[in-house]
């Protein structure tokens, strides 16, 4: 567990009043397989995510975590099986894909902000062009979420003028501006210094407290213990083990999981 994540946990009590899991299905993955050429990256993935769940996905490098999460908004195409997101099946129909993408927010390891647009423009772009929101309303929403991630004063700067942690918080705000019902995070903190990891994790915890459905690839085990209600361990393109965090960390079942946990927590 990194120091930063520990600190997050110790610093404040997490408000669990709204962190409730409903029995409504948000994402349903059945028998999903994916190949890169002849390389079988994802094998027989079955996963049901309920609304309000906060799932942390971990596993060794190259195990297919990113690929799995990228399949959920069709950044990668799957070749077999079904993925149903928010009631819409992901097929090659472009219209479905664009609908799902506008309902599902994604935060990347390297932020992927648009460097030629200001922070505010980054945040209003998709609402303006995809949702056709009026400009004034889009800007108000953007400022609301920028305040939420605590950087309203940076609105007129360009991404290149912000620190890594600030950029990642802008990226989160940018996704939130589309009012997504599901948020995907792909190692949102692994390109950041410890000091910045904390501020980004804080933002993510706040999001969890509001009941957002979250799938998060991360190695911040403190975060997993604090907010996740399920931890999924992947290896070689398969889901090896999943459990609630306490059980997962204290009582791992498979040998692979034990090995992985000893490596990541041991030192």
């Amino acid at each position: 567990m990194t120091d930063a994540a520990l600190e997050v946990e110790q610093r404040r009590e997490i408000d669990r009043s709204q962190m409730t899991v409903s029995d409504e299905v948000a994402i349903q993955i059945t028998e999903m397989n994916k190949w890169f050429g002849s390389f079988h990256v994802l094998r027989d993935i079955n996963l049901t995510v309920y609304r309000g769940e906060r799932i942390v996905i971990c596993g060794p490098s190259g195990s297919g975590k990113s690929t799995l999460i990228r399949c959920l908004n069709a950044l990668e195409e799957h070749q077999a099986g079904r993925i149903v997101v928010d009631g819409t099946e992901l097929s090659s129909d472009l219209k479905n894909i664009d609908t799902i993408r506008s309902e599902v927010g994604m935060v990347f390891q390297h932020f992927n902000l648009f460097p030629h647009l200001t922070i505010l423009e980054n945040c209003t772009l998709a609402p303006l062009w995809v949702r056709k929101t009026p400009k004034k309303e889009a800007e108000e929403t953007a400022m609301h979420f920028l305040e939420k991630v605590k950087i309203p004063e940076q609105a007129d700067k360009y991404p290149g003028q912000l620190s890594g942690g600030q950029q990642q918080r802008v990226a989160i705000a940018r996704s939130l501006c589309m009012k997504p019902r599901i948020m995907l995070f792909d190692e949102p903190t692994s390109a950041l210094d410890p000091e910045m990891i904390k501020e980004v994790l804080d933002t993510m915890i706040e999001l969890a407290e509001e009941g957002m459905t979250m799938l998060c690839v991360t190695h911040e085990m403190g975060f997993a213990q604090a907010v996740a209600n399920r931890v999924i361990f992947m290896d070689q393109g398969q889901i090896v083990e999943q459990n609630e965090p306490k059980e997962f960390f204290n009582n791992p079942q498979s040998d692979r999981t034990k090995l992985f946990l000893s490596q990541i927590l041991g030192h």
Binding site: S102, V104, H110, F114, Y158, S175
Partner: protein, 438 residues
């Protein structure tokens, strides 16, 4: 620092040292010269050699240039004046030829009484393009830019103004067809309607409409055929039209070459490679000779228009490759960021990818444009009277037989001014974009 040391040697400064001028050897001209010209034996040697070369060149050129003759009716008159003033064998530039023939070099055989139209046309063009070139101007003015080509046509060629008006109307019809098609059958139907309807209109309706309107209200300037166009004006019209048209076409080709759609991808690659792999002069001959075989007999397809089309296609292939470089230089995260927000293909290209890719490509694009602009002089080989062609015909007259340098210096200076402005503009644009998003 040990404790004892700190106590035995105490030091507190009570008067501060004021800043002082650096020593004379470290400032101003002397320092600059020493650092830049005489900083080592090799540099001293190079400086001396360079100065010698510059002196040699100037000592031959300057007398020729400074002892110029402006008032003469022919080369022999020039020589007489020179003999009188500077003595025989003195180097002397006979700029009298420019004084007498400048209008031909600039306008070709364009009617003298219509020179104002050409000049006004270029002024309108520059004014009309300024909202495109300088983003600080109000965006509403872009509508004026869109109208500029039609106004310029009406000025340069003249004829009934209803011709350009009817042509421009086609674009409005296309926009109308798009929004109707969008309501009726979605994006694809709208795109097809926006292409097919205007083309049908231009083929079958625009001509009769223009004629009918001319019959009702014959407004317009006297018509001047393309054959009368010449000189630097011809080069500029061909060059600027090709520049304007080849940028959008080149961008589309670059996107096509990146496309995952098999047909579009292969067609773009084929087009780019074929056009790029054959010299421009061959394409120009194709335009002037071969195209007539393919067209139905009797159709007279303006040679200048054919040349503009060929030059456009030619430079669009180069632009496509430059833009492709810009597209490839963008990190894939930009594409994914745009996709993950739900932007569709054209939105992400227009809003995210192209602004960044074009910014990277500016030097290459301007480089291509400068090359294209100078290559317009090749039209002399298919019988168009560009400045080079005119200089040939001027030298063919008895008065000016035997004069070379003065004409070429003049033409060279004209081209240099244009190309240098383009280069400066590109630097301005790069700086501005860099300032905007660091």
């Amino acid at each position: 620092m040990s404790d004892t040391h700190a106590q035995t040697v105490r030091f507190v400064r009570d008067s501060m040292i004021e800043p002082q001028e650096p020593p004379i050897s470290e400032t101003g001209v002397i320092r600059w010269v020493r650092e830049n010209l005489f900083s080592g034996w090799l540099n001293i040697l190079l400086t001396v050699v360079s100065l010698a070369v510059i002196y040699f060149a100037l000592s031959h050129l300057l007398p020729w240039f400074l002892q110029m003759v402006w008032n003469a009716g022919s080369l022999s008159e020039c020589r007489e004046i020179r003999n009188e003033r500077y003595g025989p064998d003195a180097a002397s530039a006979c700029f009298a030829v420019i004084r007498e023939r400048w209008h031909q070099l600039l306008f070709g055989f364009y009617p003298v009484e219509a020179y104002w139209r050409a000049v006004l046309g270029f002024v309108v063009f520059l004014a009309g393009m300024s909202p495109v070139l300088f983003t600080s101007l109000p965006r509403k003015l872009l509508w004026a830019s869109a109208a500029t080509p039609f106004v310029c046509y009406a000025l340069f060629w003249g004829g009934s103004i209803w011709g350009p008006v009817a042509t421009a109307l086609g674009f409005a019809i296309g926009a109308g067809a798009y929004s109707l098609g969008f309501r009726a059958g979605g994006k694809l139907a709208a795109s097809i309607a926006a292409i097919v309807v205007p083309i049908l209109y231009w083929l079958f309706l625009a001509g009769p409409l223009a004629r009918a309107l001319t019959g009702i209200a014959p407004i317009g300037l006297p018509f001047i055929p393309s054959d009368d166009f010449g000189g630097f004006m011809l080069s500029t019209i061909i060059g600027l039209s090709a520049i304007l048209l080849s940028l959008p076409l080149g961008i589309l080709l670059a996107l096509g070459r990146q496309s995952h759609l098999f047909i579009i991808n292969k067609v773009s690659i084929g087009f780019i490679e074929i056009i790029r792999g054959v010299p421009l002069i061959v394409w120009l001959f194709t335009a002037s000779l071969l195209l007539n075989y393919f067209l139905p007999p009797g159709t007279n397809f303006d040679l200048m228009l054919r040349v503009i089309i060929m030059a456009t296609l030619f430079s669009s292939a180069y632009i496509a490759e430059v833009v492709r470089g810009g597209l490839a230089a963008l990190p894939s995260g930009q594409y994914e960021g745009a996709d993950s927000l739900g932007l569709d293909y054209w939105q992400s290209m227009r809003l995210i990818i192209l602004p960044q890719a074009l910014k990277i490509s500016i030097p290459g694009i301007v480089n291509t444009f400068i090359g294209l602009f100078k290559d317009t002089t090749l039209v002399v080989f298919i019988g168009l009277l560009d400045p080079i062609g005119l200089s040939n015909s001027i030298r063919a007259t008895t008065e000016w037989n035997g004069i070379y340098w003065e004409l070429f210096v003049f033409i060279g200076v004209l081209f240099f001014i244009c190309c240098f402005s383009m280069s400066r503009y590109s630097i301005y644009l790069e700086r501005k974009l860099q300032r905007e998003n660091r």
